[in-house]
Amino acid sequence: MPPSKRDWRLSKKRMSKSIIINFLRFIVLVFIQVFLLKNINVYNLSTPYLYILFILLLPFEVPNILLFALAFILGITIDAFYDTPGLHAAACIVLAFVRILFISITVQKDGFDNEPEPTLSIMGFRWFLTYSIVLTLVHHFFLFNLEAFSLSQIEFTISRILLSSLFTVFLMLISGLLFFKRKERK
């Protein structure tokens, strides 16, 4: 059945709104990461990488190729400020792939109309907690291992991964609660 004109207009409006929101989110997260979180560092062990929240919060409907392209652009932008060409990009691509797998396992396809974005307020606390923990751990695992590029200090690298993930997930939950919208959950 073809969609009526009204529906089409509505979806078009929603799409442009979500493009603007995600664009702003990209800029704000990169700024926070580069000028604030880059300087935060607890005992050389725990460094938060909050910028991956951008990939986590992209809408469900985003096509795979666009998701990978956005992840790549985000990674390269962060790399430009961290002087590590390709490092964050590679970790972000892995993150995007795991996101696709995780969502295809845990979310029904036909529910997308009501639930446009995987945010804390829409998907509920339990789902979002597992989602953010799994994706953050995968991203940090690749990031720190690629950076160290050797297995000689593996205990040190693993403790960095775990403590940094803890910090990142903590910040994600805080930002999720900050922008919590109660009425959207059905």
């Binding site: 050389n44 460094t47 392209a69 430009a80 002087d83 390709g86 990009a89």
Partner: protein, 277 residues
Amino acid sequence: MRNLLIFITKYNAFFLFIIFEVSALLIYIKYNSFQKASFINSSNEVTGNLYVRISEFKSYLSLKDNNDSLARENARLRNQLKSSLYADTLNKHKVTDTVYKQQYEYIVARVINNSTNRANNYLTINRGSKQGVSIGMGVISNSGLVGKVVLVSDHFSVIQSLLHKASQFSAMLANNKEIGSMQWGDNLDPHMGLLKDVSNNAVPKVGEKVVTSGYSLFPVGIPIGTISSLKTKGGGVSLNMDVALAVDFTKLQYVYVIVNKFAAEQTGLEAQQKKDE
């Protein structure tokens, strides 16, 4: 053929993942030798200028510390003035007719980007080739050795600091002049370094000063740190020791780039000797 296309579209996420991941890793591996990364790094004019803005703002926050350290340096330099020395010998008639030629020149620069918490750390400073900085020059701060220049653009340059896996500087013990090589420690602590390959004859003591040897980019006697503990781990023919670094890399604001005026002459001569062998 049709089945192949259906297969690829069905698992498009996986194939896209492979394509993007391989390209990202290629970039990472190719530009990992940092010097080639001339495009995406902080000497790039856009990110460089952004860093200048932020660092201008941040410099206000540490004015007090800077004033203190500059005042201390002033006092130290004042102590070296002739007017503050007491001439205790009267027969000081030796005429030093030799015209001293200046060998080292110092270019002052402000640190606009700094990292200490990664495995390989770099600084960006606001002086570049237009001000006379070029690749390979040594960099110090008022408290000691910082690193060397690895990348230069018109107005900015990037310094590979001592806190870098590949950094290695020639150093010596201040008292008995034993030569060693100065590196960063294994545990990524920005306040600790490692002095390696000191010969067994040396009897280093905890608390002894470590300074530059004058064999590399730096004038002799620039402080690096003090020995904090002796390690026997190296064993065999050489000694290793932990060094508490003199420079606090987390609070660097101003640094000096050292221009060695005779560097070209010296390297030219040494290259000639290598050719003859």
